[in-house]
């Protein structure tokens, strides 16, 4: 065996371990879940029966599942673009400041490295009605009316989205900042010598060069918001996704089907529906950005 072949073999052996893990822990259960979604598998039923597409019909005609899909879409549509725009803005500002960059970066990344359950509960308490909630106390000190936030079917979803935007900003800002620092100064300096103003440099040089990172973050954040769970579980009362299912995400619906109703097969079908949606959205994002990336 040549040295190169030996090296390759070693690499294959090391790579095989994660592959085995992936097949055993990720792929296997997924196939199992697909098979089970055509049965009446329930935790409290001893026998399995084939029910064809019955579970898919059951979940797709369940108004609560449809509502949770709508909610999930709203999380993603409001949440992901807000994170990208805000964190890009913050990263651009951070790139400009000469001193204290590290300290600022730390402040922005702190929410992201804090356990999400703790973040959710602290915000849940801050969102409380008067006389307890900090945010309402501030609003009222400013002479404004108190808001219902998590108690209102109209405001609860936005409140949870806002918290998650705040959390995810830490991550995105860090990545954007890293991206900005890889852009060679020579390019923007050359553009400036050619007479470009700073707005033109930003739009024609910086942003196009950041495009691969923007694509990566858009996809990651899209997925992040499409599978939102922990925040909703902890910020809605008794983890119900309320009030009136107004914050229930598809992931929470699946969890409840599986672990409150013990209808594992229906939960499996709902998961596959969500999986299909996430895959389709990711695919569309790739296509869209691929066209825009031709710089």
């Amino acid at each position: 065996m040549t040295l190169a072949a030996k090296r390759a073999t070693t690499a294959y052996i090391f790579l095989a371990l994660p592959l085995v893990f992936f097949l055993g822990v990720r792929f296997g259960p997924m196939i199992y879940m697909l098979a089970m979604s055509f049965t009446d598998w329930g935790l409290l039923r001893k026998e399995l029966h084939f029910v064809g597409l019955g579970n898919y019909k059951a979940v797709l005609t369940d108004p609560v599942f449809l509502k949770s899909l709508g909610n999930t879409a709203r999380y993603a549509i409001f949440g992901a673009p807000s994170v990208i725009v805000l964190s890009l803005f913050v990263a651009l500002l951070l790139d400009l400041i000469p001193k204290g960059k590290a300290a600022y970066r730390l402040i922005y990344v702190l929410p992201y490295i804090t356990p999400i359950v703790a973040v959710s509960w602290v915000w849940r308490w801050m969102f409380l009605q008067p006389p307890l909630g900090v945010i309402n106390t501030i609003l009222m000190a400013l002479g404004l009316q108190a808001k219902e936030f998590l108690n209102s079917p109209q405001q609860a979803l936005q409140s949870i989205t806002a918290v998650n935007v705040w959390v995810e900003m830490g991550y995105c800002t860090t990545i954007f900042l890293a991206g900005l620092q890889t852009i060679p100064k020579e390019i923007s300096e050359a553009a400036k010598i050619d007479g470009a103003n700073s707005r033109q440099v930003l739009l024609k040089v910086t942003l196009p060069l950041l495009m691969p990172i923007t694509l990566f973050l858009t996809i990651m954040e899209g997925i992040q918001f499409l599978r939102i769970f922990t925040q909703v579980y902890n910020m809605s009362f008794q983890a119900q996704g309320g009030p009136l299912d107004s914050t229930k995400s598809a992931a929470l619906y699946i969890y409840q089907k599986a672990f409150t109703n013990f209808e594992m097969a229906q939960a499996a079908s709902a998961s596959l529906v969500l999986f299909a949606i996430i895959m389709a959205v990711t695919f569309l994002q790739l296509k869209f950005f691929d066209k825009k990336m031709g710089y």
Binding site: L43, L128, Q129, P131, A146, L244, T260
Partner: protein, 415 residues
């Protein structure tokens, strides 16, 4: 010589340990985490092990929110407990699934249940003549109030409201608002997701002249004008009188403990919890009546043995279960937790206890809803209140839809 003797001793010692460990049976007991109950059971286990050498009991607890989930995931897999304490509303599900075993008829038969328990208990643990579980204690609802807040509002701290009309009037007097009109002290805590949904369905509906279910709880019958009037009365307290609202100061128990709520409808299991709050002076009385009608909601947690337990473990489990429902434990349970003895005769002793008496009186006319999916059915009532309060929906339409949804759950279970 010495070495030989040492060897013999060592062998004997090993044999003795082996023999002892062969004789010891360890059984696992599960309940949800409620501090006073967990502490009491730890004590009970000590007593039980002392009286039954050779049996060890291990107590495992989970938070209420995830308890049912752990149970459903473990028992079918044959992993979990031997003896388990379940909410009576979950029982039909586990019995139907075949995950609890029938208790030995020699000890647990109809005659014994009828003799030992309140009629509503004996009826609701009876599955076609078979018995899968037995409870220690039962709970009812009562009105609890904060005496200091009564004094502050100029009310007699020892005279609680006796009727629903009085309750509403008192609640208004006890509510406080800030300059912007936000509620800062609730006159009456309104928590449908706590005991509120049971107060509505088994107490208010009945007091307003409705019968919420047929006798065996297979038909939902609260879709009528009387029940609508009850729901309207309940939600008017939130929307018109503004004496409280769901999740005020996180939830009713937190608010009451913090002195942010003057009155609450709560269960007897809260006695120990409230007694532990320093400086909280509280009173308890029977639920307010309406048009002279009294009603109450009773519930209980009940102990069963899972289907996979057999042999020596089964024998030990039966012994432990018998101990848990014994008169001695029933009395301890009342003293340490506040839940009432499930055997009527044992209650007699506590007739002079001002805290226990109102709950005991409630037992005389209490109903225990026969849930098939306790969480699902609770959620329907919680959402009905939210629809009226948050979406300003028409109570009649809301109740009609709720009844249809609950009927679908019940039909789905019995089909």
């Amino acid at each position: 010589m010495k070495a030989k003797r040492g060897l013999v001793l060592a062998i004997l010692l090993v044999l003795a340990v082996l023999a002892a460990s062969a004789e010891t049976v360890t059984i696992t007991y599960w309940q949800y985490f409620y501090e006073s109950k967990v502490n009491l059971v730890n004590e009970l286990i000590k007593n039980f092990e002392a009286a039954n050498p050779g049996i060890k009991v291990e107590q495992v607890t989970f938070p209420y929110e995830s308890f049912n989930q752990k149970v459903a995931a473990s028992i079918p897999a044959g992993e979990g407990p031997d003896v388990i304490t379940l909410f009576y509303g979950w029982l039909p599900m586990y019995v139907k699934g075949g995950y609890l075993q029938q208790l030995p008829t020699s000890d647990f038969n109809k005659a014994w249940f009828d003799k030992t328990y309140y009629p509503f208990v004996a009826e609701s643990v009876d599955f076609g003549g078979k018995y899968y579980s037995a409870p220690t204690a039962v709970r009812t609802l009562a009105l609890i109030w904060n005496k200091a807040l009564f004094k502050e509002a100029g009310l007699d701290p020892n005279t609680p409201p006796k009727t629903l009309e009085d309750l509403a009037a008192y609640a208004k007097k006890l509510s406080k608002y800030d300059a912007k009109g936000n509620l800062v002290q609730a006159g009456l805590l309104m928590q449908p997701s706590g005991q509120g949904h049971s107060w509505l369905r088994e107490v208010l509906f009945r007091q307003f002249g409705n019968v919420p279910y047929n006798k065996d709880y297979t038909k939902v019958t609260y879709n009528d004008a009387n029940a609508v009037a009850a729901l309207k009365w309940y939600t008017d307290l939130i929307t018109k009188d503004k004496v409280g609202y769901p999740n005020f100061a996180t939830d009713d128990v937190t608010a009451f403990k913090a002195g942010k709520g003057a009155m609450n409808i709560d269960g007897s299991f809260r006695i120990a919890t409230l007694n532990a709050v320093k400086g909280l002076e509280w009173g308890v009385s029977e639920l307010p009546t309406y048009k002279g009608i009294k009603s109450n909601y009773a519930s209980y947690w009940t102990h069963g043995i899972v289907s996979g337990t057999s042999g020596k473990k089964l024998e030990a489990s039966i012994k432990f279960l018998k101990y848990l429902v014994s008169p001695e434990v029933q009395e301890l349970w009342l003293q340490k937790v506040g839940e009432l003895p499930a055997t009527p005769a044992l209650s007699e002793k506590f007739k002079n206890d001002p805290v226990v008496l109102p709950f005991l009186k409630g037992l005389e006319y209490a109903k225990a809803s026969l849930f098939v999916d306790e969480a699902g059915q609770r959620n329907i009532m919680v959402n009905a209140v939210d629809e009226v309060v948050l979406n300003k929906a028409d109570p009649a339409a809301v109740l009609k839809a709720a009844a249809a949804k609950e009927q679908a759950i019940i039909d789905g279970f019995w089909k």
